[in-house]
Symmetry: C2
Subunit: 165 residues, 2 copies
DNA sequence: TTCGCCATGTAATTCGTTACATGATTTG
DNA sequence: CAAATCATGTAACGAATTACATGGCGAA
C-alpha cells in the first residue's frame, strides 16, 4: 500500500510523470522516507492503472507513458493520510548493531560506533543540502532531528565506551 | 541476513532457546529494533541449522527443539557486526505521512500530526518501561532519543500549523 | 561510430505478513 | 471437562531486491 501512496503523493505534489520520472523523484525527495527502484515502480503503476488510481495521460517516444492521478487516486490518498495508523514496524540495521554491541570487546565496539556515527553524519549532510521551503519540508525536519539524535547517541556512546575501556 | 544475525545475537546473549522462546525474546527485547514473528523464525532456524550456524542441542516434548549457536554462527555474527555497513534503507509510514502533510488543509494536518505525536508517545512509554542496565541498553538509549526527537518534531509542527492556520 | 546515459521493462529470488492447521498442557 | 494458552508448524500471498535484457538518443 505505502508504495502506492507514495506514488500518488508524488503525482499530486509535482504533477503527471512517467515511471522513470517517478523513480527520480523518489531518489531526490522521498529518499529519507521511503525507497523504491524502477523495478518496483513500473509494475506497480500498471496495477494502479488497472485499479483506476492513475491513468495514462500521454504516450511519448520509446514507450514512455505519462501517468496522472485520477479522482479515485486522490480519494484513496487523502483517506490514507487521514485514517491510516502508521505501522510501528521498524527494521534498522543500525539499531540492530547497537543492540548487539555488548557482544564485542570495547575496542571493537568503539570501531563499530565510529562507523555508525559516520553514517549518521553522512545522511545528515545529504539532508542539509536539501532545499528548505520545498514540498518535503515536514519530513525533512523530522529526518534532520532523527539523524542529529542518532549522531548524539553515537557521541555519547563513544564517550562512555572510552571511559570504561 | 539481518534476521539470522538477530537470532544469533539472541542465542549468544541469552543462551540456547527454542523457536518459540526466540519469538518471545524478539517481542520483549528486540521489538524496537527488528521484528519477526514465529512464522518467519521457525523456517529460518531450520535453514540456519542446515548451514551449520546453529545446532539442535536438545529435543523436548511436542517437537520442541532447543537451538544453540555454533562456532560458525559466532564467527558470522562477529564478522557482520564488525564489517557490515548498515544499509540506509528507511521505510517509515510515519515519515511518509509527514512528507505528504502539505496535501491536506491545516485542520486535517493538525489531526494527523496529533495522531503521529500519540504514536511517538506510546512507543516512548513502552521504552520507558524497559529495564535499564540490561543487554539491549545501547539500542534502548538510541530508541529513546529518536522517539523523543519525533515527539519534539510533532510538537513543533503542531505549533507551526496552529500559528499559520 | 562508439560510449555513456536515458528509459523501459521482465524474471528469479528473497524477505515478510496473514491465514490456516494441529495438538499438548495448564487452569478453573 | 472446557477454555485458555503454549508450542510448532505450513501455505499463500505480497513486497522488495538483484540480475538480466533491450533499445533510443546525444555528445565526443
Amino acid at each position: 500500500m505505502s508504495l502506492r501512496i507514495a506514488l500518488l503523493g508524488l503525482l499530486t505534489a509535482k504533477g503527471p510523470a512517467s515511471g522513470y520520472d517517478l523513480a527520480k523523484r523518489f531518489e531526490h525527495s522521498l529518499n529519507h522516507v521511503w525507497q523504491a527502484g524502477h523495478t518496483q515502480i513500473y509494475p506497480e503503476l500498471v496495477k494502479m492503472a488497472a485499479d483506476g488510481l492513475v491513468t495514462v495521460e500521454a504516450e511519448g517516444a520509446r514507450g514512455r507513458k505519462i501517468y496522472a492521478i485520477t479522482p479515485d487516486g486522490s480519494r484513496l490518498l487523502t483517506e490514507w493520510l487521514i485514517e491510516h495508523d502508521p505501522s510501528a514496524t521498524i527494521r534498522s540495521e543500525t539499531a540492530l548493531q547497537a543492540f548487539l554491541l555488548p557482544l564485542l570487546d570495547t575496542e571493537q565496539a568503539i570501531a563499530v560506533v565510529e562507523r555508525i556515527k559516520g553514517h549518521f553524519e553522512a545522511r545528515l549532510a545529504v539532508l542539509d543540502c536539501q532545499p528548505e521551503g520545498q514540498f518535503g519540508n515536514y519530513a525533512l525536519s523530522l529526518g534532520l532531528r532523527q539523524m542529529r539524535s542518532g549522531r548524539e547517541w553515537a557521541e555519547e556512546t563513544l564517550a562512555a565506551l572510552r571511559r570504561e575501556g
